[in-house]
């Protein structure tokens, strides 16, 4: 079949075939413009997380608006004329921007205790820092001690202040998002009707279009805000923060990674190819195959709407590297054949090259696909998508390379290389080492495996989002300031359900009061569920107890809740608690504008529920997220006496922790799956259990070393590093396959294990060596990323490749020689 295809079709009509291939690539390449990048917070969390539903429900119930935070660290005293003037100017410039709805700074918030006055007066005459006769010393004290402003607008030491830049709400986005999520939820429980499916696909496309428009606006907004900030850097250090800014910066990072690494890897690979082969065609051909493969894959991703996330931001470089590895094997094989039979004609040589390499390369690619496919077993959406993306990409690479490479090569003139044997002393040295120091190799390998296993057992999943970024990035610096000075970055919601009022229709037990009194009693009973009466002293007392408890935890920064309002109320009420009646009146009479700020985000009377909006200091080194969440849950029931079902947690910290906690199981699952898949493939390929087990061993050694190294050096598992093990096994196993495949053939020549080993090292060994070096050099460019997990990914995959190469050229032949899986030696 393959013979027929190559002989009668591809190599017979190479130009026509090329035309068809290039047409397909061009069509798909055109679709590549649809390739999209997604860096929303949702890409960092688990796909089927029940807490995600709850968190969405909480944010719908309590409302959430989008804003940016500018941390402003003045060079002079915060309350000096100079600084306040600059701050006012900054605020006014920001306010004047089109994409900014309002700005809240220390200049705009009402001063409640500077000086202390009765509430009646406060309301009729609001004083701010900008009021003419304000006492700044009193204001300074108020900001430092206020339950609301401290840790929110100013750092406790007053060295830093924050400006909250509110962005306009986007009701359409919210509406589309809610409807989309609703339909998704429905589709999980039952099959959608035809109308619903149509609506879903319509909403999906409208959602995407709208989101893209919104992102462009957001990017412009952020750029404008940054430009305004730049005008004030002489008086203060300014940092931008906020969810939209993180997402926007991440998109910028991803775009930069895609471009820089794509181009960087391409240049590095070109250089490596030139250094190895010294002939332009061996630079041109592999590069062309790699680039067209990437273009085609981008087209496929655009067509299917798979979006590039932080995790998959290096898919271009990865695909370039893997495609290059395949083409290098083809080049090496072709050169081997041309040196062996220089008189053979080009078509015959190309035919032989393609045919002899189809099997090992297909298996090598299949194993790599297995490595990437195993990622779909974990339940982190961007990792799953990455798995699919790469599996599709590598399959494209295999197909395109085996079509393009022969079709192009057959059209090129035959050129016998000037140097036929590209020798590397390293493979020779390793062959000698394997022959002479067999026992040492086994001992060293065992030690490495044991060390790796012990190290792997020390692996941690704890890592902070801040640490994902280089310290030099504004993203890191901004988050660090907010984290340390302004109450923490990662939101956690604690929701407490109070008992619901009985329904008014329910008959109240008890004796009659007598006559008309029963009628009056019924009147009150009918109205007792009214919202304003929800605020009882008992409930408020419990709210404050929970508030104080959450505030007392060392890991938490700012806590905002109904408790904050109660504390402010007490300060204004000469130290007296606000009573039921006052609270009911506040609830009833408070104008909507204030209600939206101080009540609605923290209490839902309808559901008899209160929300404590906690921010956790993410960069705290001793932060143990899982432990913290468990402690809160436990203390709320055991120490504060709430029934277990009445306290629920939500928010990004919880979702992020769920993702982190799933990493261990995901790591074991993906790795387990890839090893099982590889053993199966080895069995199919080599038809011997013994060979399959021998083949898997060097790969286990390489992955064990990498995981052990991470454990010993304290590199945590994260969404990106979790993929290293499976991917590096998938890539590194190529060496094993090529080596064993060749060994089988070489052993058949003279039935001598040692001689076969030396011949293998001298032939396929070089190809393995060069492909590995190419891959390692390719991955090394990832250290330039702004995204720390990408750097780890580059370095650790490189390490895995080194170990895999050395193991494939020492341990693997040693095991083969000792265990003699291809039968006894022929004397």
């Amino acid at each position: 079949m393959l013979r027929f295809f190559y002989d009668r079709l591809l190599l017979a009509y190479p130009k026509s075939c090329l035309l068809v291939i290039l047409l397909v690539v061009a069509v798909l390449g055109y679709e590549a413009r649809k390739l999209e990048i997604d860096a929303s917070a949702e890409t960092l969390i688990l796909e089927d997380d029940k807490d995600l539903q709850f968190t969405r429900q909480v944010s719908t119930r309590y409302g959430s608006s989008d804003f940016l935070v500018i941390s402003y660290v003045p060079h002079d005293d915060l309350f000096s004329d100079k600084v306040l003037t600059d701050l006012a100017q900054l605020r006014d410039e920001l306010k004047a921007l089109d994409g900014v709805e309002s700005v809240i700074s220390i200049l705009d918030v009402p001063l409640l205790e500077s000086p202390p006055r009765p509430i009646k007066e406060l309301v009729s005459d609001v004083t701010t820092l900008e009021s003419p006769k304000v006492d700044r010393e009193l204001a300074r004290k108020e900001f430092q001690n206020s339950p609301i402003y401290r840790n929110l607008l100013v750092s406790p030491d007053l060295s830093t202040t924050a400006l909250q830049v509110n962005l306009p709400e986007d009701p359409l986005f919210k509406e589309l998002l809610e409807r989309r999520n609703e339909l998704h939820k429905q589709s999980e429980t039952r099959e959608l009707t035809i109308a619903e499916s149509a609506e879903l696909s319509d909403i999906e496309s409208r959602f995407k279009t709208h989101r893209d428009m919104m992102r462009a606006d957001q990017h412009r907004n952020i750029t404008e805000v940054r430009a305004v900030m730049d005008g004030h850097r002489e008086s203060a250090d300014l940092f931008l923060g906020g969810v939209s800014m993180v997402a926007d910066d991440l998109i910028t990072f991803i775009k930069a990674d895609l471009k820089i690494f794509g181009l960087g890897v391409l240049c590095l690979l070109a250089l490596t190819l030139w250094l190895i082969f010294g002939q332009l065609q061996w630079v041109f051909l592999p590069l062309l195959c790699s680039v067209l493969s990437v273009v085609t894959t981008c087209g496929l991703l655009g067509t299917f709407g798979w979006e590039v996330t932080v995790i998959s931001s290096n898919f271009i470089s990865l695909q370039l590297i893997i495609t290059m590895a395949v083409t290098i094997h083809l080049v090496v094989r072709y050169r081997e054949l041309i040196c062996k039979s220089p008189e053979a004609d080009q078509r015959q040589l190309v035919f032989e090259t393609a045919l002899s390499m189809v099997k090992p390369c297909s298996f090598a690619v299949l194993t790599t696909v297995a490595g990437f496919s195993s990622l779909i077993l974990c339940n982190i959406l961007p990792v799953i998508t990455f798995g699919w993306m790469m599996s599709a990409g590598i399959t494209v690479s295999l197909l395109l390379t085996f079509l393009l490479f022969p079709a192009l090569l057959v059209l090129m003139p035959k050129r016998v290389p000037t140097i036929c044997v590209i020798s590397s002393s390293i493979t020779g040295v390793l062959a000698q080492f394997t022959e002479k120091r067999g026992r040492m190799i086994l001992v060293l390998s065992s030690l490495l495996l044991i060390g790796g296993a012990v190290g792997a057992s020390r692996l941690m999943v704890e890592n902070s989002f801040i640490d994902y970024f280089r310290k030099s990035t504004e993203l890191y610096q901004g988050m660090k300031v907010i984290d340390e000075q302004l109450g923490g970055t990662t939101p956690l919601d604690v929701l407490v359900d109070f008992e619901m009022e009985e329904t008014p229709l329910e008959e109240v037990s008890g004796e009659e009061l007598g006559g008309l009194l029963d009628e009056l009693d019924a009147e009150f009973e009918a109205e007792k569920g009214a919202a304003q009466y929800w605020f009882t002293a008992q409930r408020m007392e419990r709210v404050e107890v929970v508030h104080d408890y959450l505030d007392s935890l060392p890991e938490t920064g700012k806590v905002l809740s109904l408790g904050t309002m109660l504390k402010v109320g007490r300060r204004l009420n000469e130290g007296e608690d606000l009573d039921n009646f006052e609270l009911a009146l506040i609830y009833n009479e408070l104008p909507e504008i204030y209600r939206r700020i101080i009540l609605s985000p923290y209490v839902s009377v309808e559901y008899s529920q209160v929300r404590f909006a906690v921010r956790v200091r993410d960069s705290e080194k001793n932060l143990r997220r899982n432990e913290l969440l468990q402690t809160i849950q436990r203390d709320m029931t055991e120490k504060l006496g709430f029934e277990p079902g009445r306290v629920r947690l939500a928010g990004l910290l919880l979702l992020y922790n769920n993702m982190l906690q799933s990493l261990f199981s995901s790591q074991i699952q993906t790795l387990g799956a890839v090893v099982a898949a590889l053993i199966l493939m080895f069995l199919v390929l080599f038809r011997s259990l013994k060979v399959a087990l021998i083949a898997i061993f060097p790969n286990l050694l390489s992955v064990g070393t990498v995981l052990g190294f991470m454990g010993w050096t304290g590199i945590p598992l994260d969404m990106m590093t979790i993929t290293i093990a499976a991917i590096s096994v998938g890539i590194a196993v190529d060496d094993t396959i090529h080596y064993i495949h060749r060994f089988e053939r070489e052993f058949a020549v003279d039935g001598n294990y040692l001689a076969a080993m030396h011949r293998c090292h001298a032939s396929i060994g070089y190809a393995m060596y060069y492909t590995s070096i190419t891959i390692i050099i390719g991955f090394s460019i990832l250290i330039l990323s702004n995204f720390i997990p990408s750097i780890y990914f580059g370095l650790l995959t490189g390490l895995a490749m080194v170990i895999a190469l050395v193991a494939a050229l020492t341990l693997l032949p040693q095991l083969i020689i000792r265990l003699q899986p291809f039968g006894p030696e022929q004397k």
Partner: protein, 206 residues
Amino acid sequence: MRYLFSAILCVLLLASPTLADAPNEVRELLKVKIDAVVVLLQDKTIEKTHRNERVLDIISPIFDYPTMAKLSLGKKHWPTLSQEQQVLFSDLFHKRLQASYLEKLDLYSDEEILYGTAQAEGKKVHVPTTLVSKGSKIEMFYKFYRSAEGWKIYDVEIGGVSVIQTYRSQFDGALSEGTINDLLEKLRIDDTFVIDAADVKEVSPK
């Protein structure tokens, strides 16, 4: 038979002229009382203790403190109290209401009181009033019922918040966590159980 029926109907109608006139009667009753209190408040020559005594003399006849005490516990809790506890509770509650009322009289300045149209519902009449001062308006509802001794106030609603309902929710909460004796003790000493009617002025920036 037809005549007999008509005759009975006429007798019944004639027998209840007060109900037909009730809204106006109650509105007038309230107006007289409040106007009298306002006159006292505007007279700065009267000594405060004496003034308060006279104010209570004026308003006490229309406030049904015992009924308000019962309603504040409702039939869920009231019948569970012993007779002795009921007497004690009524007494403390009565004092609370009076104290909080008097405490706030000093805050009266020059508010104008507007009387709306009273609404009758069976044996109940609700009189809406509006307290108007510079730039702010506060709605107040006086809720009367017809007792054996005439029209009496059983609840006052200020800014949409019923005084009795607020006590009910608070007492219900207190009794679900503690005993009646705890509640009695709290009423005796704890200021959080005093409702400040004048808070309305402070917290309603509308």
